[in-house]
Amino acid sequence: MTVAIVDYGSGNLRSAAKAFERVAGERSVVVTSDPDTVAKADHIVLPGVGAFGDCRAGLYAVDGMVDAMEETVIKQGKPFLGICVGMQLMASLGIEFGEHKGLGWIKGVVKEINLTDPTLKIPHMGWNTLSLKPSGTAHPVTSDIEAEDHAYFVHSFACFPEDETHILAETNYSTPISAVIGRDNLIGTQFHPEKSQAVGLRLLENFLSWRP
């Protein structure tokens, strides 16, 4: 059993890899830019930090990677986790320094957080509470999130899925923000589970034992 963390030059993959290793048990965790390795993996993880357009360009610049992901994740239905911008890339469109097409796996758009309280700071940075939506309460990866569980967020843009049931959990920053989105074998977290101490490690563990 292999967990593939897709390396396309975006940010620090070491923390994600270390966090997965902590909960992986017998599985091997690989950080890879090789589409064949991704194609053969049992779990696919797409991290990402920075701007939507840059990440998209970086991902598409890895020859064959998006095809390999489409094949394993969409056609074969292997469990997929997107983290932060990796989650945002699942959307149809990102509006950040221009408009950029996403993977289109979850219908919706990524755009700037629209604060209703002007004293709040951007980026939305720090620990915020998670609140489950009905689809999250029923989801094996998120169902054990409790009312006062906090996760670590760092972002200025947020994902707005068209279908409300694709939002599994929200957080609030003067306005509701999608914290976990997903459908079928796809799940994504706006926050960083690899930086969210026990709450984050538990989510990663749930992801690895998930049989969508």
Binding site: G11, N12, R14, S15, K18, A19, R22, V49, G50, A51, D54, L120, K121, I122, P123, H124, M125, G126, W127, N128, T129, E148, H150, Y152, F153, V154, H155, S156, N172, Y173, H192, E194, K195, S196, Q197, A198, V199, G200, L201
Partner: protein
């Protein structure tokens, strides 16, 4: 609701933890990784390593400290001190740092902040602002641990750095650092009111009241402290309980 963050900071020299009073008279007190694990267990919201004499000392020790910490602590880690070029930032991020703070180099080469934010994303670029009071409600940027004045106004500088892509500002009062007399609230507030990015208050914490003041009066979204935690004067849970009692929203300690 977003919570105020408590960030213990470890001053590191040659891979060992130190803490100075006004940046001199350093006292050696332990292994940074052991300290980091303790703070992690105690429920600190983030960790900060400041490689204080990195400009002149053996630089590579910090990468090893960061690497070992990142293997054991699953929480955000900021590393600063002696960061001069994008290559330094890249190496720290690859070692396992989540954010890198730029101080002196930003003053001498402001474009570095722009370049770094473009290359790695604003979320990992912290600009460290060391300021001293030079007149009534007038603060100026100082470099080299507070020894060199620059003539740059602190608030103008903060605005420029935010504009260049800093994702966060670490504001340290060089008058207050090591004095245990509390943050410089006027400085913290001037910068947090003027800018739209999160501000971390730093320099001068002696009591838990000071942490409350940094958030409530200074408008910071995070408070950084070194010696009160490092020397065990207070623990992170004590700090959190105190802040919660004062009406500041904090993340409860996990498992409690």
């Amino acid at each position: 609701m977003l919570k105020a963050r408590i960030i213990p900071c470890l001053d590191v020299k040659d891979g060992r933890v130190v803490k100075g009073v006004n940046f001199v008279d350093l006292i050696d007190a332990g292994d940074p990784v052991e300290q980091a694990k303790l703070y992690d267990q105690q429920g600190a919201d983030e960790l900060c390593f400041l490689d204080i004499t990195a400009s002149s000392d053996n630089r590579d020790t910090i990468y090893d400290v960061v690497r070992r910490t990142a293997e054991q602590c699953f929480m955000p880690l900021t590393v600063g001190g002696g960061v001069r070029k994008t290559e330094d930032i890249r190496k720290l991020l690859l070692s396992g740092a989540d954010k890198v703070s730029i101080n002196t180099a930003a003053v001498f080469e402001p474009e570095l902040v722009k370049e770094a934010a473009n290359k790695f994303g604003s979320q990992c670029i912290v600009v460290s602002i060391d300021a001293k009071r030079t007149g009534p409600n007038k603060f100026e940027i100082f470099t080299h641990g507070g020894r060199k004045e620059t003539g740059i106004d602190a608030v103008e500088w903060a605005l420029r750095m935010a504009d260049y892509g800093a994702g966060e500002l670490l504001v340290t009062s060089m008058d207050k650092d090591g004095t245990k007399s509390g943050y410089n609230i006027a400085l913290t507030k001037a910068i947090s009111d003027a800018t739209s990015v999160p501000v971390i208050a730093s320099g001068g914490v002696g009591t838990l009241d000071h942490l409350v003041e940094g958030i409530r009066d200074g408008g910071a979204t995070a408070v950084l402290a070194a010696s009160i935690f490092h020397f065990g004067t207070y623990s992170i849970p004590e700090a959190k309980a105190f802040m919660a009692k004062a009406g500041i929203p904090v993340r409860p300690i996990e498992g409690n």
